[in-house]
Structures are given as C-alpha cells and as structure tokens.
Symmetry: C2
Subunit: 83 residues, 2 copies
Amino acid sequence: GDIAAGKAKSATCAACHGANGISQIPMYPNLAGQKEQYLALQMKAFRDGERKNMVMAPMAKPLSDEDIANLSAYYASLDPAGK
Amino acid sequence: GDIAAGKAKSATCAACHGANGISQIPMYPNLAGQKEQYLALQMKAFRDGERKNMVMAPMAKPLSDEDIANLSAYYASLDPAGK
C-alpha cells in the first residue's frame, strides 16, 4: 500500500485510534506498528460484516481494497511507541 | 489483572504472538503494549464465539475471566517496540 495515501485517508480514523496510531480510548486498539496484513484482514472483515462492530462497520463500509491497502501500510509504518 | 500470572499463562500465546508480544507471522497481530481493555474484550469475544476465528476459538475457550484479565495486563505491560 501507499503510506502517504493511507495517511491522507486516515483523518477519520485518528479520532479514535489517535493521530499517531496510539488510541486514547481503552476499548479501541492501538494501530501504530501493527502487522500490515493483519490490519488489512480486519478492515475487510469489518467492511464485509465478517467481524461485527457497530462503530467500525460504517467506517469500513466505504473503503476500497486500495484504501485498505494504503491505510494498512500507513499504520504499520508508524512507530509502535507512538513517537 | 496480575502481570506475573499473565506471563505464566502466555506460554501458548507466545508461539504465534511472539515471546515479546511481537508476532513473527504477518496475519497475527502484535499484542505488546496493546490496550488492556481491548485485549480483554477480544479474548472474551473469541471465547464466546462473538468474534469468529478458527485458530483463536480453541485458544480462548478454556480461559477464565481471571486468565483473561491477567493475560491482558501482561501483554499491555510489554514494550510496544518489543524490547
């Protein structure tokens, strides 16, 4: 995926997952430095309803495979310690 | 949860999620430094079948709430950069 395109796409995600990919909300996961393939699998699962979550479903629904690849590359590229 | 008890319980988990909580397998998530509450919610979801995964279901099935609290505390306590 394209990290810059992923960053551009991540504005909405940052609200819950943090501008640096470290969530400020205990129920929501940190994404910074997570495995790229795992991230893509989860976004597709949310998009396709295979993994059910009322908050993530509408977030993932409009994403194309390319968006998902870019977002996955972006979050995987972030420093896991959030710096 | 009790971090030491979680560490003792984590022997099986380390096979996929890494001894330091950083997975060596692209499909499996890093757990080190993840949100404690998020980890507990996911383990319960796997245990109770709310979140479906053929690998995680048998792993989570035997876990008590206390095991889950301890494992969550343990993985949340690990350095997200895996050091």
